[in-house]
């Protein structure tokens, strides 16, 4: 049914007859000059040859139907004939369409206004590159400013005893970003544990070193994968929710309403989210670590016949408390990044629906980028420290 024409382009429905006399060109439209027929008539009229005529007449009194689209074609043709240097004697339309035609004639309809076409070439490429760079720098600068504002607000709330943290909002954020994420984080961590154990076992078996699959699992999951996977899931789940929520509030003028009431946006909207996620993400990461190891243990049992007690003993030798802590210490930093980017982009939403969508996407992409970049930074930092 898509793009079905209004009516089948039947030749008999609308037509244009031409009468050529030595000096005079007569256009005789007939049939239904309505929006269904207009595309075909448009093509016919574009192919119109005036030849040697010096005068023209449009006699549309024979049309059986006329709507604004049809009337527009008559008017446009009249204007074009005049532009071509012909004297147009006038346009006749049936009596019942006279009000329509006169209204349209009175509007002095101008042609469409077209914007400048998108430029091409090297200069344009350079211009876009420059714009992009300046935009990216502006974005970074803005985010830095936002970071400063949040830090100041947090310190003030922490220092001033009377300005208490909005506790219910804080708890609600922990529930929304932490508790409700447990099933999906658990499922994915379990599956990644299985995949990691399977791949590790496959490679290590060649060297007869299957037992080291347990070391691979323990170190890999606790130090890197658990935290990274959890942070990426939460960025997609909660970071996007922050941007969409705050962005929709911006569209509805709720943010403006808050500001006029003297409410502090950073305190009411941003702080509970930042602090809630900073608490929730390390807990989620720990949960993911445990479930991931369980997934790995299950795979080791079925694939390598490593029993659970053997797995536990090997795990104990492979990892120390430090391995776990090195993984967990990154979680609050990731949480801070996700919440900061999510809220920052949400507050930048303009008052239209497209802006909410664009900035939500950007929020997720930016926070995942920052998570991975910071994770790399941590790796370098830890290796320098020799941890």
């Amino acid at each position: 049914m898509r793009n079905r024409p209004l009516a089948a382009p039947d030749e008999s429905l609308a037509d244009l007859r031409l009468e050529r006399r030595p000096d005079l060109l007569r256009l005789l439209p007939t049939g239904e000059w309505n929006i269904g027929q207009v595309p075909r008539l448009d093509v016919m009229l574009h192919g119109l040859q005036t030849e040697r005529a010096r005068e023209a007449e449009i006699d549309a009194s024979g049309v059986s139907e006329l709507d604004t689209a049809g009337a527009w074609l008559l008017l446009r043709t009249k204007n074009e004939l005049e532009k071509a240097g012909l004297r147009v004697r006038g346009v006749q339309v049936p009596q019942r369409y006279l009000p329509l035609f006169q209204t349209m004639e009175a509007e002095h309809i101008a042609g469409p206004v077209r914007g400048a076409p998108p430029g091409r070439g090297l200069l344009n490429f350079l211009e876009r590159l420059g714009r992009g760079t300046s935009h990216a720098l502006g974005q970074g600068y803005g985010m830095l400013g936002f970071l400063g504002r949040i830090t100041v607000e947090t310190t003030e709330v922490a220092l001033a005893p009377r300005r208490e943290l909005p506790l219910p909002a804080f708890v609600k954020q922990i529930e929304e970003t932490g508790v409700t994420a447990l099933p999906i984080v658990g499922l994915l961590a379990f599956l990644i544990g299985i995949v990691l154990a399977y791949q590790g076992a496959d490679q290590l078996r060649r060297f007869g070193a299957e037992i080291f699959t347990v070391d691979l699992l323990g170190v890999g999951f606790l130090r890197e994968l658990g935290g990274l996977v959890t942070a990426i899931i939460v960025a997609g789940r909660s970071g996007s929710a922050f941007t969409a929520f705050i962005g929709t509030m911006r569209v509805n003028e709720e943010i403006d309403a808050m500001e006029t009431m003297g409410l502090n946006i950073a305190e009411v909207l941003v702080l509970p989210r930042v602090l809630g996620l900073v608490v929730a993400l390390p807990l989620l990461t720990f949960f993911a670590d445990v479930v991931g190891l369980i997934g790995g243990a299950v795979m080791c049992y079925f694939d390598l016949h490593i029993t659970i007690p053997v797995f536990m003993r090997e795990l104990q030798q492979a990892i120390t408390l430090k391995t776990l802590l090195v993984g967990l210490i990154k979680a609050p930093v990731f949480a801070f990044l996700i919440a900061l980017v999510g809220c920052f982009e949400g507050l930048r939403v303009e008052r239209n629906a497209e802006s909410v969508g664009r900035l939500t996407t950007r929020s997720v992409v930016e926070s995942i980028f920052l998570i991975i970049a910071f994770d790399a930074g941590f790796s370098i930092f830890f290796s320098i420290l020799g941890i």
Binding site: M1, R2, N3, R4, P5, L6, N34, I35, G36, V38, P39, D42, D67, T68, A69, W72, R76, P99, L100, Q102, T103, M104, E107, H108, I109, A110, G111, P112, V113, R114, G115, E350, R351, N352, A353, E354
Partner: protein, 259 residues
């Protein structure tokens, strides 16, 4: 305008309409006829279901019971393919304009053209410019995004989009709400002149007594879950307290001073 009541001249026929939400009955066996070429104003207190009536007629809301015929076709229980044939013949202006915010005004007007016709982009641009001129917007409005327009311009642009396919029937949901009195008057005049020159039938939900007086041939009042229809003169004689209060209150008297 002919109010002969012949079935040929009835564009919308609502019979025995029942609408209820969560057990609360909004419309209780409501009947209404809208005749070809008239402007019908629909008024009623808040929560009496003016917009629900409009939404039921255009198929956005499924009534509990009753029959709604538009152009003689039964709307209730109609399948989507059939509905599409009717959608070509009407245009709807929503309360907030409902322009697609990611598209320019010209692109908004071209949405129905693109969907239902095969025409060149050039012709679509011309038609969009023509519609803009028809609703009294400057030609460069076409390049703007809805967020750059004022409230009155959004309503006019919404009207231009509703008129894109030259419909026979036009639904307006509170077209003058949120406009200043001068813009509201201009909008009323615009609706009236378009209705006359294009031969439209207009179903207009409104709160604005000035609009009722300026534009509407007949007025339908939603009271006690039913509808009472008449001209302003007839309704002034009505004994219903809400109708009496509506037309005889301070605002009503001021607006009707010239009647």
């Amino acid at each position: 305008m002919s109010n002969g009541g012949h079935s040929d001249d009835v564009v919308i026929r609502v019979q025995g309409l029942v609408n209820a939400f969560g057990g609360k009955v909004i419309h209780d066996h409501l009947d209404l006829d809208v005749y070809r070429g008239e402007v019908l104003g629909v008024v009623g207190g808040s929560g009496t279901g003016k917009s629900v009536l409009l939404r039921s007629i255009v198929g956005l809301n499924h009534p509990v019971e009753g029959s709604i015929k538009v152009f003689g076709t039964e709307m209730v229980g109609m399948d989507p393919d059939e509905l599409r044939g009717l959608q070509l013949r009407w245009g709807v202006l929503f309360q907030g304009g409902a322009l697609f915010s990611s598209q320019t005004v010209a692109e908004n007007i071209q949405v129905p053209l693109r969907r239902y016709t095969h025409m060149s982009q050039e012709l679509m641009d011309e038609i969009a410019a023509m519609k803009l001129a028809l609703v009294g917007l400057p030609a460069d409005t076409g390049q703007k995004y809805p967020s750059e327009l004022s409230g009155g311009m959004v309503k006019r642009a919404g009207l231009a989009r509703a008129l894109a396919l030259d419909p026979e029937l036009l639904f307006l949901d509170e077209p003058t709400s949120g406009l200043d009195p001068i813009s509201a008057n201009q909008f009323d005049e615009l609706v009236r002149s378009l209705q006359q020159s294009l031969g439209l039938t207009v179903f207009m939900v409104t709160h604005d007594i000035d609009s009722l007086r300026a534009v509407c041939d007949r007025i339908a009042v939603l009271v006690k879950k039913k509808i009472k229809v008449g001209t302003i003169g007839q309704l002034l004689q009505d004994s219903d307290p809400w109708i009496h209060e509506y037309f005889s209150g301070a605002r009503g008297r001021a607006a009707l001073a010239g009647v």
